[in-house]
C-alpha cells in the first residue's frame, strides 16, 4: 500500500482548504468570508469522505468513530479561530480546538494528557490570553460598537500565506501517508504485551505490593520479591509473581491464574515513570524555562514610569504638602 489516499484527492483537499481559508480570512468583503467557510467545510467533508472510503477500501479498520466528530470539530474550530476578526472569539475557538483535541487524546489512550491539556491550556493559558486581550484592546468607541480595528479586520497577504501553508500541508501529508504504512509495528502480540506492560511494573515494586495487597494476595510480612537490582521479581510474559516473606525469608511463586486483574501499569504510571526515569534532565530544563519565563514576564510587563524632573518635583512638593498639616487643611 503506497498511499493511504489518492494524491489527487489529497491535493484537491489541500487546494480547497487553501481556497477556503484564503477566502475566509478576515477581509472587507464579508460575503467572501462565508463562501470561504463553505469551501473549507467542503474540504473537510471531502477529507473525511476520502479518508474513510479509502481506508475502507484498503481493508484496514477505521479509527474509532468518535474520531470523526472530534477531528471535524478541531479543524473547524481552528479554522474559525484563525479567521475570526475578534481576538476574543479566536481565543474561545481555540479552547474549542483544544477540547476537541482532548477528545482525540482520549481516543489515543492519553487520558492524563487530555485532562492536563484542558486544565492547563483551556484553564490557565487561554485565560491569560483573554486577560491580555482585554487589557490590550482599546475600548470600542461609543459611535460604533461593532467597530473592529483594521489590524483584526483585514488579514495580511492571505493568498501567499495560504499557498505556502497548504503546499506545506500537501507535502507533509503526502510524505506522512507514504511513510505511515512503513512505520515499524510491534507485530508479535507477546512482544506487544511486554512492550505495553513494559518493565514499568518491575520498576515499581511498591506499587505491585500495594495492588497485590489490595487484591488480597499478600499475607502478613509478605511482599513481592526484589531482584538484586531492586526491581520486582515479576515475570510479565508468563505472568508469575515471586513473593517473599520478609520475616521468614521464604519465597513462594504466584501462578499466572492468581495474577490480579488490577496489576497493570496504567497510563499515568507509565508517563510518570517515563518522565522521571528517562527525562529527568528535561524536567529540570523545563523548570528553569518556566522560572525564567516568569521572571521575564515580571520584568517585561513592569511599567516604567519616567517622570520629568519638574513633574517629580511637583509630586514631591505635593507629597510634602500633604504631610504638613497646614497644607492638608488648605487642600481640604
Amino acid at each position: 500500500m503506497d498511499t493511504i489516499i489518492s494524491p489527487i484527492a489529497l491535493y484537491l483537499i489541500c487546494v480547497l482548504g487553501a481556497l477556503g481559508i484564503a477566502a475566509a480570512l478576515p477581509r472587507r468583503n464579508k460575503a467572501l468570508e462565508i463562501t470561504g467557510g463553505l469551501v473549507f467545510a467542503a474540504a473537510i467533508g471531502l477529507a473525511v469522505l476520502v479518508l474513510g472510503l479509502n481506508a475502507t477500501e484498503s481493508g484496514q479498520p477505521l479509527p474509532n468513530y468518535f474520531f470523526y466528530p472530534f477531528a471535524i470539530l478541531a479543524l473547524g474550530a481552528s479554522a474559525r479561530m484563525i479567521t475570526h476578526p475578534r481576538p476574543v472569539y479566536s481565543a474561545l475557538y481555540f479552547i474549542l480546538t483544544i477540547i476537541a483535541s482532548c477528545g482525540m487524546y482520549l481516543l489515543l489512550s492519553a487520558e492524563f494528557m487530555a485532562f492536563a491539556l484542558v486544565i492547563i491550556y483551556a484553564g490557565a493559558i487561554l485565560i491569560t490570553y483573554l486577560f491580555v486581550i482585554m487589557l490590550a484592546t482599546q475600548a470600542p468607541s461609543s459611535a460604533s460598537e461593532q467597530f473592529i480595528d483594521e489590524t483584526d479586520s483585514v488579514a495580511r497577504e492571505p493568498v501567499i500565506s495560504c499557498v505556502i501553508g497548504f503546499v506545506l500541508l500537501a507535502i507533509l501529508t503526502t510524505a506522512m501517508f507514504r511513510g505511515v504504512s512503513d512505520l515499524p509495528t510491534p507485530s508479535d502480540p507477546e512482544t506487544q504485551m511486554a512492550l505495553a506492560q513494559d518493565s514499568v511494573l518491575l520498576n515499581l515494586p511498591r506499587k505491585v505490593d500495594r495492588i497485590l495487597d489490595r487484591a488480597g494476595v499478600l499475607q502478613d510480612h509478605e511482599r513481592v520479591a526484589r531482584n538484586e537490582d531492586g526491581t520486582a521479581a515479576i515475570d510479565i510474559v508468563n505472568r508469575t509473581i515471586t513473593i517473599e516473606n520478609t520475616d521468614l525469608h521464604t519465597v513462594r511463586l504466584l501462578d499466572s491464574d492468581q495474577w490480579p486483574d488490577k496489576l497493570a501499569a496504567g497510563n499515568l504510571d507509565r508517563l510518570g515513570y517515563n518522565l522521571m526515569h528517562d527525562h529527568p534532565m528535561t524536567i529540570e530544563i523545563a523548570g528553569i524555562i518556566l522560572l525564567m519565563a516568569m521572571l521575564g514576564a515580571v520584568v517585561l510587563a513592569r511599567k516604567h514610569i519616567e517622570l520629568e524632573e519638574d513633574l517629580k518635583a511637583a509630586q514631591a512638593r505635593k507629597l510634602g504638602d500633604s504631610m504638613s498639616p497646614t497644607a492638608g487643611t488648605g487642600n481640604a
Binding site: 479543524l75 489515543l108 492524563f112 497577504e157 505495553a196 496504567g266
Partner: protein, 120 residues
C-alpha cells in the same frame, strides 16, 4: 460511547493493541492540518495576540502528532514530550504576553505591522 469507554479502558489496560496505519494517517492528517492552520494564521493575522494563539495552535498540531506516534509505539515518550510542549507553551504565553503588553504600551496598537524598525 462504547468505543470511547473501551479506549479508556484500553488505556488502563496498557495498550493491548497497536494502532493500524490508516488510523495513524487520520490522526496525522488532523495534526498536520492544525499545524498548517496555525501557520497560516500566524502569517496572516496582524494582531499579535492572535498570532501567539496561532503558535499555540501549531503546538497543538505537533502535540497531537506526538501523542499519536506515542500511541503507535506503545510508549509514553510522546506524552512526555507533550508535557514539555505544554511547558514551552506556557512559558511562551507568559513571555509573549508580557511582551505584547509592553509593545502595546509603546505603540497603543496590537498590530505587528507597527513594528518595523528593523526595515532595511
Amino acid at each position: 460511547m462504547d468505543h470511547l469507554l473501551h479506549s479508556t479502558q484500553l488505556a488502563q489496560l496498557a495498550f493491548p493493541e497497536a494502532v493500524p496505519a490508516v488510523t495513524m494517517a487520520h490522526y496525522l492528517f488532523v495534526s498536520a492540518a492544525m499545524f498548517v492552520m496555525g501557520l497560516v494564521g500566524f502569517l496572516t493575522r496582524k494582531n499579535m495576540i492572535v498570532m501567539f494563539l496561532c503558535t499555540e495552535l501549531m503546538f497543538q498540531g505537533a502535540g497531537l502528532a506526538l501523542i499519536a506516534f506515542g500511541r503507535h509505539h506503545l510508549g509514553a515518550d510522546g506524552q512526555t514530550f507533550v508535557i514539555f510542549v505544554l511547558c514551552v507553551a506556557a512559558a511562551e504565553a507568559a513571555m509573549a504576553l508580557a511582551l505584547v503588553v509592553l509593545l502595546f504600551r509603546h505603540k497603543e496598537t496590537l498590530s505587528a505591522q507597527a513594528w518595523k524598525e528593523l526595515n532595511g
